[in-house]
């Protein structure tokens, strides 16, 4: 059955409406499923490191800590300043190592090199290592994402 100026039949209209609505319902069910499957990634707001353990670094030395589920490294520069990195290669997410004799960060996965300030200097890494902000608060060093208040 088709009305005089209609582009489609009653059957097509009904099928379209039914199919479309079923599609919407499927989407309605898909949403919570996706919510469940992809939980929000929680990056730590801050990590506290006791000064007693971490404050006494020698210049140029490195100490590891956990930045959430990623490794972090705390380093004392030659100038005596404390800096922190997320020690994960910016190329393909491998954990990097610090080679004290070469004074460089090295990623073994694809031979990526970073200098002692975490700047990419050789191999495939496209960006410097991610820096974290370090401040001192009482007995602790406070590590925060850079730019966070």
């Amino acid at each position: 059955m088709r009305l005089k100026h209609s582009l489609f039949t009653r059957r097509q209209f009904l099928n379209g409406l039914l199919g479309g609505w079923l599609g919407v319902l499927a989407g309605l069910f898909l949403y919570p499923v996706l919510k469940f499957i992809f939980p929000p990634e929680r990056e730590p707001e801050q990590v506290l490191l006791p000064l007693a353990d971490y404050g006494s670094l020698e210049a140029g030395a490195i100490k590891n800590f956990a930045w959430g589920r990623k490794p972090g490294m705390l380093k004392k520069t030659a100038g005596g300043e404390l800096i922190a990195f997320v020690s994960v290669c910016t190329h393909l997410d491998c954990n990097v190592a610090y080679l004290p004799d070469k004074k460089k960060f090295f990623c073994a996965c694809h031979e990526g090199w970073y200098d002692e300030n975490g700047v990419n200097i050789g191999g495939p890494p496209p960006k410097p290592l991610r820096r974290l902000a370090v401040t001192t608060e009482g007995e602790n060093l406070v590590i925060k994402p850079e730019g966070a208040a």
Binding site: L14, L17, L18, P32
Partner: protein, 420 residues
């Protein structure tokens, strides 16, 4: 490019290689009888729908569940409190299990009362009994996985039952437990049963069951006039599917609604050395067996009561499995005794279950009671439920229009094979 033409060409390409048309043609001509017993025929596909929901939600829960002694209870707790909407997914899994088993029982009762298992459908019945066993095993193994006091106690009792069987019983208990006692190995084993062994077994039995149903066709009630039934029957596709779809939708809505408002709780992690909690009970579908075991005296003559009870239950299960061979009258004959037997069995199961519920169970202290985590989440959930019920209403209306349309087409002979 013409989209319609492309779709048609792709379909033709696939059909050439896969032979899809053989299947669709078969479904278009598979007659579904239309009489006062037709409602029973919705139960089978409904079980399948709930099984599908179990598979999907089960896979999702397994993404976060960790089947070890230290982490099992903790990981379920995290699913219920940390993973977004995890408590609802677990609740749907739990409630869908209940729905599935309830409808399996109803399905079975329908087949029994209608005597649909008679020649040539004996093996359909037997594969169905296997499916029932696997379904109950799913429930039993799944009950241990949250690893709280209740599930530990239920599993202790359940896995001890085989021991009462002479000769092979002790071996059965060791097989289920992975040792003399329940331990972390039992948990790993039950997880393996629940997510890999049982699904494979169930799918195999299901394939046989569904194949036989297609091969033998739907049964007619005892004493039906075959010609009149054939004239009244409707094709499975599309006329019957539209009717079934309404039932699926309504049940999906009910399931999700109940799951949101009555989520299962989680007790503290089970302690292998702690005494069993007072008034423990298994899941409702095992209550009648549980109570049967309870009422048997410790000693009957010179054998232990448990042994007698378990052997009686096994005998009943065997009789049940071989029912089509015991009641092997021709399909057209009535079977009053069998019908009465079904009725008595239902009365027995219901009475025993109610009796078993008379022992009050103590509500457990400090358990996790799931709820929406914030006002945003609860609002979203209410909007979601509203959307579902609106969809159910609209789709039911549209499906009824489709039913009318396809019935009219059937009536004027649009679907008949000589038309093509």
């Amino acid at each position: 490019m013409n989209i319609k033409g492309a779709v048609r060409a792709t379909w033709a390409w696939l059909d050439d290689r896969l032979g899809v048309r053989t299947v669709t043609d078969f479904l278009k001509h598979k007659p579904i009888p239309r009489n006062r017993h037709t409602p029973w025929m919705y139960t089978g596909s409904l079980v399948l729908v709930f099984f599908g929901i179990q598979v999907l939600t089960g896979i999702m829960l397994a993404f976060y569940y960790r089947p070890t002694l230290e982490e099992a209870n903790k990981s379920i707790g995290e699913i219920m409190t940390k993973v977004p909407l995890g408590w609802i997914i677990r609740s749907v899994h739990s409630w869908s299990a209940t729905f599935m088993i309830a409808i399996v029982f109803i399905h079975l009762l329908g087949i029994w009362v209608l005597k649909s298992y008679r020649k040539p459908r004996e093996m359909t019945w037997m594969s169905g009994v296997l499916l029932l066993v696997f379904t109950l095993a799913f429930g039993f193994t799944g009950y241990l996985l949250p690893w709280d006091a209740l599930s530990l106690a239920a599993t202790k009792v359940g896995t001890d039952i085989p021991r009462s069987i002479p000769l092979i019983g002790a071996w059965g208990t060791r097989f289920l437990r992975g040792g003399e006692d329940i331990s972390g190995d039992t948990l790993s084993r039950f997880f393996s049963f629940h997510v890999s062994v049982l699904p494979l077994c169930l799918l195999a039995a299901l394939a046989l069951h569904v194949y036989l149903i297609q091969k033998l066709g739907m049964s007619l009630p005892v004493g039906a006039d075959e010609e009149a039934e054939a004239r009244r029957a409707i094709p499975f596709w599309p006329n019957f599917v539209y009717r079934e779809a309404i039932v699926w939708l309504v049940f999906a809505g009910v399931l999700v609604t109940i799951a949101v408002f009555l989520p299962p709780t989680l007790g503290k992690a089970a302690d292998l050395m702690a005494p069993a909690p007072e008034g423990i009970k298994p899941e409702w579908y095992f209550l009648f067996l549980f109570q049967t075991l309870k009422v048997f005296p410790a000693k009957i003559l010179f054998i232990t009561g448990d042994t007698v009870a378990v052997l009686l239950i096994l005998l009943a299960a065997a009789l049940f499995f071989f029912l089509p061979l015991l009641d092997n009258k021709p399909a057209g004959r009535k079977g009053k005794i069998i019908t009465i037997l079904a009725f008595l069995l239902v009365v027995y199961a219901v009475a025993m279950s109610i009796w078993s519920l008379q022992t009050p169970s103590k509500p457990e202290a400090d358990k996790i009671v799931p709820a929406p985590q914030n006002i945003k989440e609860s609002t979203a959930i209410y909007v979601f439920l509203g959307g579902i019920w609106l969809s159910v209403a609209v789709l039911t209306y549209l499906l009824r229009l489709k039913i009318k349309e396809t019935d009219r087409l059937l009536h004027v002979g649009y679907f008949s094979s000589d038309r093509r």
